[in-house]
Symmetry: C2
Subunit: 332 residues, 2 copies
Amino acid sequence: MGEFRQNFATKEWVIIAPERAKRPRHVSGQQPASAPVPSYRTECPFCPGNEPETGREVLRYGDTFSWNVRVVQNKFSALDPIRSTQRQQQGLFLKSDNFGDGEVVIESPIHNATIPTLARESMVNVLRAYRERAIEISSTPNISIVMIFRNHGPGAGTSLEHPHSQIIASPIIPPHVRDPFQKAALHYDSFGTCVYCDVLQEELRQKERIIYENEHFVVFCPFASRTPYEIRIYPRRHMANFTWTDNAELAAFADALQTVTRSMNDVLGDPSYNYIIRSSPTGDEDVRYLHWYFVLIPKITTPAGFEIGSGVYINPSSPEVCAAQLREAAGT
Amino acid sequence: MGEFRQNFATKEWVIIAPERAKRPRHVSGQQPASAPVPSYRTECPFCPGNEPETGREVLRYGDTFSWNVRVVQNKFSALDPIRSTQRQQQGLFLKSDNFGDGEVVIESPIHNATIPTLARESMVNVLRAYRERAIEISSTPNISIVMIFRNHGPGAGTSLEHPHSQIIASPIIPPHVRDPFQKAALHYDSFGTCVYCDVLQEELRQKERIIYENEHFVVFCPFASRTPYEIRIYPRRHMANFTWTDNAELAAFADALQTVTRSMNDVLGDPSYNYIIRSSPTGDEDVRYLHWYFVLIPKITTPAGFEIGSGVYINPSSPEVCAAQLREAAGT
């Protein structure tokens, strides 16, 4: 028998319903087998030798033709760097010139590299590039949020196979982002604590959903997981913004990320997934009520009418069972 | 050049970015061609002759073995009719026994019937069944919301091919539903009007996104469409709850729904889609600040990390162009 569970920070509910997996045709955790991806593709704009095909390079670790990580402007960004944030009325309705920055972090010269198979040093370099670009973009006037995310695999909405993440900066803070901040501020006003610090302590106390821990980070399946094998990585130290992460923490974050994605691949094959680094708005880097964290959502269920209408996700698995499987695969 | 647009009711933003369609590999509006669906399948639990295989029948129009519409309890519902709404603490976290009702509306005995190909009378019967069940379920103690939705096609998360909709009733109102209600109440407090009535009047005034109109309903692509060909059907009369819809309105709603889904199929083939009837909570059927409406979302784009992280949807098409295509196909 399932149950409703509430996300303590956002107050959103999920339905945990492992018996749903008994439906006549249910979703599978395994992706269909596909052809192996080669380590190099002549026609790939992100492969070495095709550097002129990308947008303008804004960061590079390594030499021009022997690089480790490149960050380039997204040629097909949904956002354009027009420097106006003024809202306009169209009759009753509100609109704004498209504005912001879109960048692509090319994580490796190797076409078929993945997060778990990157050398540790390369993984640290990718995270260092995230931080360096986030610091730079945050200093741009009028930017309100900087979002770092990664879409992996055909089910996750990616348009290019080469390993890459994206950074998008926007002058607008949408309600989907603002509303949980307001709930976190209310929590702070009531209890004097960061709600995310509280969640982390409670997950550590309940223990059964913890996958991996190191000195600086804790990896777990959250109590109110919206999907099977949803993964969160929280820094132990209270920091509202990702840019505060120091070098020792960055290395520990790389370990946590590679460990849990290796476990995930052991358990699920190589699923499509989205990951996102959620961080405070620019200007709110020091607030006491927000806490940056990492969330990874494997794409093994399809949100349907119920989820779209209610925002309540039906999770056909138990977060405790998913965490136990990932923990076992991690050997921790 | 694209732009940000705000949903006037929910204050959510979208990015309208038609130039995104120029990306190297972009999504297509066409589904891959699949084998034609037969009008009958022996093994389908919803086909005539297999009535004992479904959950308990709660409504039937027609005879036992010669029916037009059947409503049955969902054997694989995510919700169970345990009559307790009490929340429980698990440490700091909140949970609740799974509770609610899940019903399936079997829309036709014909296995390959679709919304646009149903006889008009059958379509009206389906909507009548929605209304009859919604009234009955709303009278159940502790039920807070009744949601009617339909998942069509493999991309929309459906597990059965036979034409059916679902009705889910829950004792919990999630923030995703409550937050827009609060915004609508604030609008009422400021302006003394229903924000959805205002949106409808503004769409009619701007006119370029209107697809179809009849005496009781208006069909349009909303100003801040989150996806290509997003379709809304608003009743002209202010009604917070779907159950207030009278018989003349139900017939006009059937016409609107069949007209626009026929247009959609002309333009897009037979896309997967989700549709949802958004209606007030039980107990709030009379409120002046809510307005029931219908929303249909064709599944032709994949939400990725950016959408999941920000709640801002990147729509690679112009709502004005989509509406013009659907209007032309409707011959209106």
